[in-house]
Amino acid sequence: MEGTAASVGMTGVAPPGSGALGRRQRGRLDRIGDRSLYVITLAAALLSAVVLGGIGYEVVHGASASISHFGLGFITTNNWDPVPPHEVYGAASFIYGTAVSSFGALLIATPLSIAIALFLTELAPRRARTPIGTLVELLAAIPSVVLGLWGILVLGPFLRDHVEPGLHSVLGWIPLFGGDQSPVGLLPAMLILTIMTVPIVSSLTREIFLTVPKESKEGALALGATRWEMIKTTVLPYSRPGIVAAVILGLGRAIGEAIAVTQVIGGALGIHANLFVPADTLASRIASNATGAPTALNLASVFYLGVILLALSVIFNAVARLIIRRMTLKGS
């Protein structure tokens, strides 16, 4: 990094090429330079907007045949039958799978993440905070395909042999914990998505907790609050919108995960309350069906699933980012 410092110093002394060119010539060159760098960076910025727009356009365009064929009824139709001539496609089963697996994951991940974030900002010994925070965030770096591999070969069989029978015998009267047990299905998908969302939600929540004014926290402690009461009276109420945003972002991540879910969910149609049987999600159906779609209508219907998924993700992200933006404005 010494080199950087030196180059800063150098520039201050003599702008490159100052001697050879005349002042006027250099002025013109600089104007051209300023202008072209502006245009290049603007083009790059516009490109990112075009890519986002293009994704939206192409996915809707690709789905148009299915949209005009099935209309909004697609959303409530619980069928995926690619056999011509009576092809019927509908997203209900995948929407259900997406909702159950992501909400289930966030139901576990949210309290866990808040507890981790509190641990890292308020409760852990100071020296333990950075290393443990780093380890939690490294969890996010594990590629989803590796998590999926672990899910299908380790977690799934473990759940089937050791967890699902227990859950069934104790809680079997709840439809969620029905009789059929399988290494693939909603439960492993939920757990894999939990592992994926915890680092995201906890690191966002931690950053929000760090913005809570020190004065507020001191005020609560000085009033004779225990650490938990201080958290309850100042940290949590102040952070509530940010926590909501973090959870929505986590939800956005969970519904969009295709690979790991495809590996562990089993890819089956149907809406069953039982968490132990195979199911499917929007993202995972797109992943398993997009290559080698047998008919044009089938492919268009895959894109239709994409439209639904994209719309949900964009809405979730847009809302969450707006909340976060409003919070940071308030904070500064």
């Binding site: 910025a45 293009g54 507890a115 981790i116 594990i142 009461e229 295709a258 993202a283 993700s313 992200n317």
Partner: protein, 299 residues
């Protein structure tokens, strides 16, 4: 003398009437927080340890250099290592320069309104499910070309990387002290020269960090490749206009294979991938802490 006259039931010694219960609640929360942190760290260790234990046995030079074998044991992932290398490099070559330019636009040229709009676009783009990016690439490149290709995969990964590079570069550029910028401009150095010779070099460490993080993410990203580059030969391909093997898809396909020997190979490939990704993330993390410290120090 004071202590002698102090009654044992003095409020200071007793505390508020409900203090015992409050202390218990506080204790319970601390335990819950500890357990939660341990659970998350344990998840990391369990996954990494599983991959290590199950994969390390299959790792040897042949496995790393030989091509795949369609059925049964034997063969390696050499072709996929080459393919992933080419695809990720191509993607980085597209995403990093563009990402840095976008960041320069928002932090050096744009008015605050359009800068904030672009940041918003990048955040949304970052939230687009990568499988959807895959669909986009299918329409954009795979269909017109008539077949899958390494290039199509690289474009998909580049779209995933772009917002990551741009957003973290923006954050680093925001840390470049305005005194440094103003010093350049005050000397009569034009804007573009200030950017090229002062701002970018000052933020170079941060840009490098952002790029490492994005590469680490792209190396393991599977969904776009599944649609753009998943039907490939078992031999080594170096022409990106053709479909080429790559590590994430090999792991994905082997994980769904009924053949246990393929499972072992999947673990070994996952071990390589995970080591690469964790190494890169750790380097980036150490590096970024240092860069931030230095930039904040110059403030």
């Amino acid at each position: 003398m004071e202590a002698a006259s102090t009654p044992a039931n003095h409020p200071l010694l007793q505390g508020p009437p409900n203090l015992k219960r409050r202390r218990r609640v506080n204790r319970a929360l601390e335990v819950v927080a500890w357990v939660s942190a341990v659970v998350a760290v344990a998840a990391l260790f369990i996954v990494v340890a599983s991959v290590f234990v199950k994969g390390v046995g299959a790792l040897n030079l042949d496995f790393l250099t030989q091509g795949q074998v369609a059925f049964g044991p034997g063969g390696g992932i050499g072709n996929a290592l080459v393919g992933t290398g080419i695809i990720v490099l191509l993607a980085a070559a597209m995403a990093i320069p563009i990402g840095v330019l976008v960041a320069l636009y928002t932090s050096e040229f744009a008015k605050s309104r359009s800068a904030s709009a672009i940041r918003y676009v990048l955040d949304i783009l970052n939230g687009v499910p990568t499988i959807i990016t895959g669909l986009f690439v299918v329409v954009l490149i795979v269909k017109p070309q008539g077949h899958q290709s390494g290039f199509a995969g690289a474009v998909g990964l580049a779209i995933v990387m772009l917002p990551l590079v741009a957003r973290s570069t923006q954050e680093v550029l925001a840390l470049v002290p305005s005194s440094v910028k103003e010093a350049g401009l005050a000397l009569g150095v034009s804007r573009w020269r200030t950017i090229v010779s002062v701002i970018v070099p000052t933020a170079f460490g941060g840009i490098l960090t952002a790029s490492l993080v994005a590469v680490a993410r792209a190396a393991g990203e599977t969904a776009p490749l599944l649609l753009a580059c998943s039907i490939f030969p078992t031999t080594t391909v170096t022409d990106p206009s053709q479909a080429m093997a790559n590590i994430p898809i090999v792991i994905f396909q082997y994980s769904e294979s009924p053949d246990p020997s393929k499972h072992t190979q999947a673990w070994a490939a996952a071990l390589i991938l995970i080591l690469f990704v964790l190494l890169l993330s750790s380097i980036a993390r150490v590096f970024s802490a240092r860069v931030k410290k230095r930039l904040e120090g110059t403030r």
